[in-house]
């Protein structure tokens, strides 16, 4: 299995605060990777280093390297917009743009080139099918995205991310604001998506990590405590802190 992300000695500071300490981790291609840990342990911060969303916070300093298919994304010559096109992201709260469903999905492709009407129609359909939303919205493509339910909005955000044809999909607690049925739908979708995409997801729900991921990484106080195949991490954790966390003794 080829490696998608290779993280070497990554350090991140928010001003004086040392948020990520010596993170080294590899993320295999076409797999689902869950990041777990208590609140404030740095898992979301780490996720945001993978598409450089932390760049927007001026007090953040990043050291070390993250290689995406062999190139360090923190190199000075890196095109951040191109990186974010390759590494898509879905957030905790569904954040559709206040535009029509069609316009939401077409937003990404239009940023990077000028696709024709027909090509765009195809991209929109393919992306919505990819996010298992097509059948529910195919007759309402030009209605406002804000009229959709929370679960539908989140799948629209997934479709929007798929429309720019990324290699990786980052999900930042993307089901935590949803009801159980919508959550289940998205978990099923993740199983479909991993055939074509590498998925890195932050979740505060250990059961979700156990259900959907192939690999799990446990974060604590800005450090990676343990990272292994999900089954192994949950059945025979090596570190006693991992064991304490997954058995619910803190966090």
């Amino acid at each position: 299995m080829t490696t998608k992300f290779e993280v070497n000695e990554l350090q991140l500071h928010y001003g004086e605060f040392h948020a990520l300490k010596q993170i080294s981790l590899s993320i295999p291609e076409r797999s689902v990777n869950a990041l777990i840990g208590p609140s404030g342990c740095g898992k979301s911060t780490f996720l945001r280093t993978l598409n450089r969303m932390n760049d927007m916070i001026s007090s953040v300093r990043v050291d070390g390297e993250i290689k995406l298919s062999g190139t360090n994304i923190y190199d000075t010559g890196m095109d951040v917009e191109e990186l974010r096109k390759r590494v898509g992201m879905v957030f905790q709260q569904p954040n559709p743009f206040p535009k029509s469903i069609y316009e939401n999905v077409a937003f990404g492709p239009r940023l990077h080139r000028k696709p024709g009407r027909k090509e765009l129609d195809e991209i929109v359909e393919k992306s919505l099918r990819g996010a298992s939303l097509w059948d529910e919205v195919k007759d309402d493509l030009h209605k406002s995205a804000l009229g959709l339910s929370g679960g539908q909005q989140q799948r629209l955000c997934i479709a929007r991310a798929l429309a720019v044809n990324p290699e990786v999909l980052l999900m930042d607690e993307s089901t935590s604001a949803l009801d159980p049925i919508s959550t289940l739908k998205i978990e099923e979708l993740i199983q479909e998506l991993k055939k074509d995409y590498t998925i890195v997801m932050v979740t505060h729900n250990m059961h979700q990590a156990a259900r959907v991921s192939d690999y799990t990484t446990f974060f604590l106080n800005g450090e990676v405590i343990e990272s292994s195949p999900t089954e192994k991490l949950f059945s025979t954790p090596v570190d006693h802190r991992t064991e304490q966390y997954i058995t619910g003794r803190f966090g």
């Binding site: 927007m56 957030f91 954040n95 743009f97 937003f107």
Partner: protein, 298 residues
Amino acid sequence: MQDKQRVVKPHIAEEWVGKIYTLLCIFFLIVTIFSMVYFVASKGISTFFLPNVNLLDFLTGLKWAPEGSPPAFGALPFIVGSFTTSILAALIAAPLGICAAIFMTEIMPGVGRRYLQPVIELLAGIPSVVYGFIGLSVLVPFLRDVFPGQGIGIAAGAMVLSIMILPTITTIAADALAGLSHSLKEGSYALGATRWQTIYRIILPTTLPALLTGVVLGISRAFGEALAVQMVIGNAPHIPKSLFESTSTLTSVITLSMGNTVSGSPHNSALWSLALILMSMTFVFVFIVRWLERRSKV
């Protein structure tokens, strides 16, 4: 039981004092507003009971000679003057104000909040006579040198007004931009949008109703401003053929003539009619703003 009542009683009294006091204040406000509207309206409408004056002629007539014989009451030049100066002022100030607001909130929020916002709020506090004076002694000579004409007129008025309404437009735009949910911007950046793509395609369209609210409030302020305009517009009662020729606005003709008329005379009543037009337009602006605000909430 007795103890309890002793504790509760002053509390209830306090409630009542507060209630009655606020009620009196709001009553006073409402009475003031209604009597002002009634006063202006009754005075203004009285013009139309004069012989040879009717509403249509008043609104569309070109000749303003209230002391002539026979007197003529054509207010169109003032209406045109007021609208052209205010709308031109908004056309100048809106792009400047909105771009300044983008800079303050999106490009350099730290510097924007700490230095630019106070400076722009300072602009709002400068008395209008100062604006008029600067317009008269700097802007008018400049326009006279560069363009044919005397320099006074709609162009000078609109420029002075545009600076006066810049704080209104900028402050409201900056508030709207700063209030935009961060998650929308993140969604755009996460798709690989650049900062300008995010501003053009997400931030501006989403905040458009609020930005327009600022522009309409600016126009409304420009429409009502009298002193600064009067100092640079020339005050000739006719529709000018160019932007650099003397003309008047509703406000400037009222401030200039009001002191020279006798209460109850036709001239005096005609000025009240102009005030009534001004007031009605202000109501229209308020309604537009309300409507825009309702839309921006959806």
